[in-house]
């Protein structure tokens, strides 16, 4: 229950923060969420990771789908030299998840 609450809170805080702040505000968002809902380090890492994996991956997928992947085709070629929209969505999800997971982990050590 706590785990799901943490995932939801991290997701909400991240989306809200990114409306006004740079992309890396997902890190302080996950950090805060982990302070508000303390968990074991392993769970904290996982909840932060999953939260942003879902938010960034989901948003990217939603946007790309409505775009019929026009942009994702081109950008995946540009960055990865391979034409694979899914890879670009996966990379987006992974980056969000890693940053948020680590921030969440860092906060989890501060409280028991």
């Amino acid at each position: 229950m706590k785990f799901i609450a943490s995932v939801l809170l991290t997701a909400l805080l991240s989306i809200a923060a990114c409306l006004y702040l740079p992309w890396w505000s997902i890190a302080p968002a996950a950090f805060m969420s982990s302070i508000i809902i303390p968990q074991q380090p392993g769970k904290a890492l996982l909840s932060g990771f999953i939260a942003l994996l879902l938010v960034w991956g989901g948003l990217a997928w939603y946007i790309s789908n409505r775009n019929e992947h026009i942009m994702a085709h081109k950008i995946s070629l540009l960055i990865f030299q391979t034409d694979n929209p899914l890879l670009l969505v996966a990379a987006t999800a992974l980056i969000g998840g890693l940053v948020a997971g680590l921030a969440s982990l860092s906060a989890s050590y501060l409280r028991r």
Partner: protein, 810 residues
């Protein structure tokens, strides 16, 4: 312990963020770029995106309604004249901001700010060419004209109304990828854009290359290699036209022979960058007597660099004063090529040399004084501060003389110049107000309006074609053309003697022009505007072939329809090959060829001189001609200085037509005298070797060999459309080249309702993530057109209206 762990993981997190926010370890700042709320995903426009909006701006005087059709072409209806330009600026910025800023940065010599030290040479060259100076002069001149100033002010306010809405998320994707932010627009930027067009269209010269040629070859050889007029020339103004005695008779300086024509001093290596020589175009208009429905038809296809986003943006502007439709330049107000309710207008490049270099003698290296008309004159210095990304800023000091900026000196052009200084005299530096021609043409009602409008066009000079619904057709090679004595400015001129300056400009009523000619059509394809009976010197650098073929087709045609004209614009007939191939077929000795070589020769035999996309013979000819001219001219040019002028292909071909034993054919490095048969057969054998590997690589088909593409302005391949299956050639009306070609094809039948067709190789949106980014490219490749819809004010319920933007006064 836990605190320490927390600090360590926090540090790891911060490090990861820094890496993902920069290019320290990654090729791109992936975190910033891929954040769905900030990065490239924000530019991935939904395919069913809604462009409708209700907008309020205090700068507006009244209401403006904009209706977008299914091709995203805006139809602007403004209550107030200048509000239309505000909205035009707003829409240009909304759909094309990045290219507008890139082009004006390039014009101003500010590319280093964005891409760093590798652009410094470009920036110095453009600043030394006086581009910024020219734009400032033009701005001052424009501001004297209240109507144009108001138009520019409104346009600039419109651009900035959009720029001010931008956030990190809504920036065009190129800003995100390259990592910078747009600045506010200004009227100066509009002037810089126009100067960029002047550079592109009237920035060509070959004075250094020709000077080297003059110094290297004997006078007889020089005249043979660089003739003043091609035998096949069919000028814009037909041969046999009678010209009045000129009002102005420039005289060559007394020292011209000794100090200019026969001055053989060697010139150091100098290879300035050049705009594309084939920046040309076709335009023509046919009279009612030659059309099926009795309405004149006007056609235009300007040939320019093929880029995405396109140079052009299509739109309709309707105000109480006028109703114009056509293409506009993102970066400037007005419709540039198009039509209104009374007439249609179009342009091809004049291509005349309006750019001279003078050799300057400074008193010393300080460049403070130079010798001119037997005295030391003081220079002005213009100090150019160039910001360079990730590097120290660069300061360039350019000396200005009576001619203009001293473009080349010891500090520029690699320091290998022979200690000489070269000043640039260019008409683009002179005050002029080019926007007024478009402002007036958009509102023109008749031939008199056109005649007055075109007088405002100074640089780049153009062949302006015109037709009215009342049945008039006209063409005029309009520009600020220097009246030159024969040979003036073909080579670098002495800068110590004022008698080498231009002595005046061709009076506007003496520019070559035609109004309702008897033959029932006017046309231009960048060929020489008039033959040698025209009383002013016109120089030598004009391509003859497209003009030739256009005139031939128009002469033969009757009962012409708009469809005929569209077919003609995409016609792939190769006028050069039609003259060259029969000569080769007569002289290649096929008994010396093996079976495989004969297979390729048969392709040439069966060819109808048409560069269709799938033609193999077109490739055979192109390769053969390259081998042939390289072989034939190799001996003549073996020891020539680098960067010397090469003769045009027409020169070699026409010399052979006059005399198959002409001087070029013999290899001067051998004892025996070579014949055309030997040279042609050898060239063909060599060509087959290349053709064989081309065929093996699947590149024998013409479109595969030529590989025409429409390239993104930052040369990003995924944003480009490469290897397009399109026919045409530089010698065809469909004048395609690898990165250059018909940038807007337009056919206007001036019937009561105006039957208009057009297409450009791009799309209305500059966003690579939009479905409207390259919408028209396939149509363009296939030679198809869109019927242009001139929306009537009440037609808001028409099925073609997809979105509506309403602009009101706040």
């Amino acid at each position: 312990m836990r605190i320490l762990l927390s600090i360590i993981t926090a540090a790891v997190t911060v490090t990861l963020i820094v890496i993902l926010n920069s290019t320290l370890l990654l090729p791109a700042p992936l975190g910033k770029l891929l954040s769905p709320q900030h990065g490239i995903w924000q530019n991935a426009e939904a395919v069913d995106a809604n462009f409708s909006a209700d907008l309020n701006f205090p700068q507006l005087a009244g209401k403006v309604d904009v209706y977008f059709d299914d091709r995203l072409v805006p139809h602007i209806f403004a209550e107030q004249e200048n509000d239309a330009y505000f909205v035009q600026g707003y829409l240009h910025a909304k759909f094309r901001l990045w290219q507008m800023e890139l082009q004006t940065h390039a014009a101003a010599g500010r590319a280093s700010e964005i891409i760093g030290i590798k652009a410094l040479k470009h920036d110095r060259e453009f600043r030394r060419m006086g581009m910024g100076y020219a734009a400032e002069v033009a701005l001052k001149e424009m501001e004297k004209d209240p109507a144009i100033k108001a138009a520019c002010d409104a346009y600039t306010a419109g651009v900035n109304a959009w720029v001010n809405t931008l956030t990190e998320s809504s920036l065009p994707v190129e800003y995100k990828l390259i990592g910078y932010k747009p600045e506010l627009w200004s009227n100066l930027k509009t002037m810089l854009f126009l100067k960029y067009m002047s550079y592109d269209l009237a920035g060509g010269d070959d004075d250094f290359e020709m000077t080297k040629a003059k110094n290297y070859f004997s006078t007889a050889d020089f005249n043979l290699l660089y003739p003043l007029q091609q035998d096949s020339l069919d000028p814009i103004i037909p041969k046999g036209t009678k010209y009045e005695a000129p009002k102005l008779q420039p005289t060559a300086p007394a020292t011209a022979d000794s100090l200019y024509f026969n001055d053989k001093q060697l010139l150091a290596m100098m290879n300035p960058s050049r705009p594309d020589r084939d920046n040309g175009s076709n335009n023509w208009a046919v009279a009612p007597s030659k059309t099926k429905n009795g309405a004149p038809i006007l056609c235009n296809d300007p040939h320019l660099g093929l880029n995405l986003p396109s140079l052009w943006y299509e739109m309709q502007i309707t105000t109480p004063a006028y109703n114009a439709y056509g293409v506009s330049f993102p970066g400037a107000p007005a419709i540039i090529i198009g039509f209104n309710d009374s007439c249609a207008f179009g342009f091809t490049n004049g291509g005349r040399d309006v750019k001279e270099y003078y050799s300057i003698q400074f008193k010393d290296d300080s460049r403070k004084e130079y010798w001119f008309n037997n005295e030391w004159k003081k220079t002005d210095f213009r100090i150019e501060h160039i910001k360079v990304k990730d590097s120290l800023n660069y300061t360039d000091t350019v000396a200005y003389t009576v001619f203009g900026p001293v473009m080349y000196d010891k500090s520029f052009n690699g320091g290998i110049a022979n200690g000489n200084y070269y000043a640039l005299r260019w008409t683009a530096h002179d005050p002029s107000n080019e926007l007024r021609i478009f402002y007036e043409l958009d509102r023109a009602k008749n031939y008199t309006d056109y005649s007055n409008a075109v007088l405002n066009l100074h640089t780049p000079g153009q062949n302006c074609v015109f037709a009215t619904k009342s049945g008039d057709i006209a063409i005029r090679t309009q520009g600020k053309w220097p009246a030159k004595w024969k040979g003036q400015g073909d080579f670098i001129m002495p800068g110590t003697d004022g008698s080498y300056l231009w002595q005046g400009f061709i009076p506007m009523d003496e520019t070559p022009q035609q109004y309702n000619p008897e033959r029932g059509f006017v046309s231009s394809g960048n060929q020489k505007p008039a033959d040698s009976t025209y009383p002013y010197y016109l120089g030598r650098n004009y391509p003859p072939y497209r003009g030739l073929i256009i005139n031939k087709k128009l002469q033969a045609a009757n009962n012409i329809t708009a469809q005929d004209m569209m077919d003609m614009q995409v016609n792939n007939d190769n006028a050069f090959a039609a003259q060259a191939v029969p000569l080769f077929l007569r002289h290649i000795n096929d008994s010396l060829l093996d079976n495989e070589q004969n297979k390729y020769l048969d392709m040439l035999r069966d060819w109808h001189y048409t560069n269709d996309a799938t033609s193999n013979a077109a490739t055979v000819f192109a390769v053969l001609w390259n081998k042939f001219s390289d072989t034939v001219l190799a001996d003549e040019f073996r020891n020539a200085p680098a960067g010397i002028m090469r003769p045009f292909e027409s020169t070699l071909l026409e010399a052979l037509h006059r005399d198959t034993a002409c001087k070029f054919v013999d290899n001067i490095e051998t004892v025996q005298t070579e014949t055309l048969t030997e040279m042609a057969t050898a060239a063909f054998t060599a060509a087959v070797t290349s053709l064989r590997s081309l065929e093996a690589a699947g590149k024998l088909e013409w479109s595969m060999y030529q590989a025409t593409g429409v390239r993104h302005l930052a040369k990003l391949d995924p944003f480009s459309r490469l290897n397009l299956p399109i026919g045409g050639s530089r010698y065809s009306i469909n004048a395609t080249k690898p990165d250059h070609g018909p940038s807007w094809r337009m056919v206007i039948s001036l019937t009561a309702d105006t039957e208009a067709y057009g297409v450009y190789p791009g799309g209305q949106s500059g966003n690579p993530g939009s479905r409207f980014y390259d919408t028209f490219v396939n149509h363009w490749v296939q030679g198809r057109y869109y019927r242009l819809w001139v929306m009537k004010p009440g037609a808001v319920k028409d099925a073609r209206v997809k979105w509506k933007m309403r602009f009101s006064k706040a």
